[in-house]
Amino acid sequence: MTRPLSAPLDIGFDYTRSLGPTLGRFMTALAERRIEGMRGSDGRVFVPPAEYDPVTAEPLTEPVEVGQEGTVLTWSWIAEPLEGQPLDRPFAWALVRLDGADTAMLHAVDAGSPEAMRTGMRVRVRWAEETAGHIRDIACFEPLDAPERPRPEPAPAEPVTMVTTPVHLHYQHSASAEESRFLRALTEGRVVGQRCPVCGKVYVPPRGACPTDGVPTTDEVELPDRGTVTTFCIVNVPYLGQRIPTPYVAAYILLDGADIAFQHLVLGCDAKEVRMGMRVEAVWKPREQWGPTLENIDHFRPTGEPDAPYESYAQHL
């Protein structure tokens, strides 16, 4: 049996978050190469700061500046750093309690080898070359016996109110076995759906399980590349990444013999002529451009046949 189709899926997004007074103050201090904690209800100093006391839930309002050296409370060794981590060579994760603080900060220690790490060792902050008011203004921690790097003079920073964190994740996205057969058929210019063995409905693209009956859909059905517009909208608003000039029509198209409509484009006529019940047919891209994708069909165009009666598609709206 052929394996289902799969492909790398890379997702990237810049998360932009507002900080509020407590974290805004902490990030502003980082931009100035200073570290400020927050005194808790019981007098403990939290670094990084807590907005509310973890035990009493009281809002906390007394910032406390702490030292830039501290003690490693525990650590683990990352022999093969992962994408996005503070160092691209082997390093330790550590909980570091800064002098003057009562809680620990999670960060990286650039120690070179696990032999150079031990619980209780002393470390200091290594600042990033440029600071921006972000947790990564602390590049990492380093052992106290590491040669000290020249440190820029602290300078007052503008208040930091927002923080932006890019997130990139990588997946291997798999199509289902049924979707894979559908996509492979498209590479041959065929449209394949599946019939539910219980209710007899034909799904295209095939879904693996009938959403009405919850049973696997097993019988394959070849469908024609013509059908009926069940509903549509006219897109007038330009947006990022748009490839078709506005106005254009995005429509739900019910292929003849299918019981579920899918979305595609209707071109080849004036947008205002498109209507519910309009009969359309696929316009395929040149064969040499075909791949395992519904984009092999460039768009649908009117066939000129009389409109389908409303009753023929009413239950598919």
């Binding site: 525990t74 994760w93 997946y171 291997q172 399980a209």
Partner: protein, 351 residues
């Protein structure tokens, strides 16, 4: 309070990688079919459906909506979802039955952990301002917790390896297990470190899987199962997200949940400990004596499908009651870094 019991449990095989989609349909359809065959119920008998899964794990938005295809949601169903392990979905379903609105519920969880890089994906459950931007991976954080216990004499590397050997041996009798077999503690200790002080076998494997449980109230439960696993205590608690402000050598939220649930007299405990030292930590925190059988299924070290692993602990513990192997059992589920959020469910059989 309404008496509520687990009356059925089924799970997919625990495997390193499935060919299926991240919406879980391929894993869930056979699980539901097995569950219905075992209980004699059909989807029309289910009053409420609740699932646990994660879009970050799936790498797509609303993956749990696609999963509903596995139910056959027509006529329309009463349904909910938690972005958490399905053990918390079971809690929601239990509350739903307490409201009196329904007397049955089906709870399911699924995760295709192999789709992305699990250790990195789990960084996104951390504080998004101060911690997640550093991408601390789940194994690195667990390693720091393990060392705290090693340094303070609460456990040794040998203790951890013994947990692994016991888990693999117990899993021999679990047909769903991903890792099972006889391993020697001394051999385990010669393995290199993966994330010092953790070796690979100290970490739960990356597992794709799914599971489902049916809950029923009172008379309904007695009609469905010969020996229902009655829930006598059910609670969940959470510790602060400030990881450096927690005592990582214990789990205050587990202790608080256990106190609320009442765990005296349990004979079996299924503990959701994805790292070997966490099983020891949980035994100590819960005060479980040597007489308590811990993870007779093999536990998470034998297979840990994300977002179903906690629900599976409840299903395995309930199975011990329903099959007559135990009278009173405890199931634990965890979520978040280094056992931050914890749930305890206590069940018993009645004559």
């Amino acid at each position: 309070m309404t008496d509520v019991a687990v009356v059925g449990f089924a799970q997919a095989p625990h495997v390193r990688e499935t060919e299926g989609t991240t919406n879980g349909v391929e894993m869930l359809v056979p699980v539901f079919q097995e569950l219905f065959a075992r209980t004699g119920l059909s989807k029309r008998d289910i009053g409420f459906w609740c699932s646990g899964s994660s879009d970050y794990l799936a790498g797509r938005a609303f993956s749990f909506v696609s999963a509903v295809d596995a139910i056959g949601a027509y006529p329309p169903i009463n349904e909910s979802h938690v972005e958490a392990d399905a053990a918390w979905a079971l809690y929601e379903a239990w509350v739903k039955i307490q409201t009196g609105e329904v007397d049955t519920a089906l709870v399911y969880g699924f995760g295709k952990s192999s789709a992305g890089q699990l250790r990195r994906v789990l960084a996104l459950q951390l504080d998004p301002y101060l911690v997640a931007p550093l991408w601390p991976d789940s194994v690195g954080i667990a390693g720091m917790q393990a060392r705290l216990g090693l340094d303070s004499g609460l456990w040794t590397e040998r203790d951890m390896a013994e947990v692994v050997a016991r888990s693999r041996a117990a899993a021999v009798d679990n047909p769903h297990a991903q890792l099972a077999g006889q391993v020697e503690v001394d051999d385990l200790l010669t393995e290199p470190y993966f994330v010092d002080p953790l070796r690979k076998h100290d970490c739960a494997p990356i597992t794709d899987g799914a599971a489902a449980i049916i809950l029923a109230a009172g008379e309904k439960a007695r009609e469905i199962a010969a020996r229902p696993a009655w829930i006598t205590g059910f609670a969940h608690r959470v510790d602060t997200p400030h990881i450096g402000a927690r005592d990582l050598t214990t789990s205050p939220s587990t202790v608080a949940a256990a106190k609320a649930a009442g765990i005296d007299g349990v004979e079996v405990a299924e503990l959701h400990a994805p790292f070997s030292h966490q099983e020891i930590l949980l035994r100590q925190a819960l005060g479980l004596g040597d007489a308590v059988r811990v993870n007779p299924s093999g536990g998470p070290l034998a297979g840990n499908p994300m977002f179903a692993g906690g629900l599976i602990r409840i299903g395995e513990a309930a199975g011990a009651v329903m099959g007559g192997a135990a009278g009173r059992v405890l199931a634990h589920a965890t979520s978040g870094p280094a056992l931050q959020q914890n749930l305890v469910c206590v069940m018993e059989g009645r004559e």
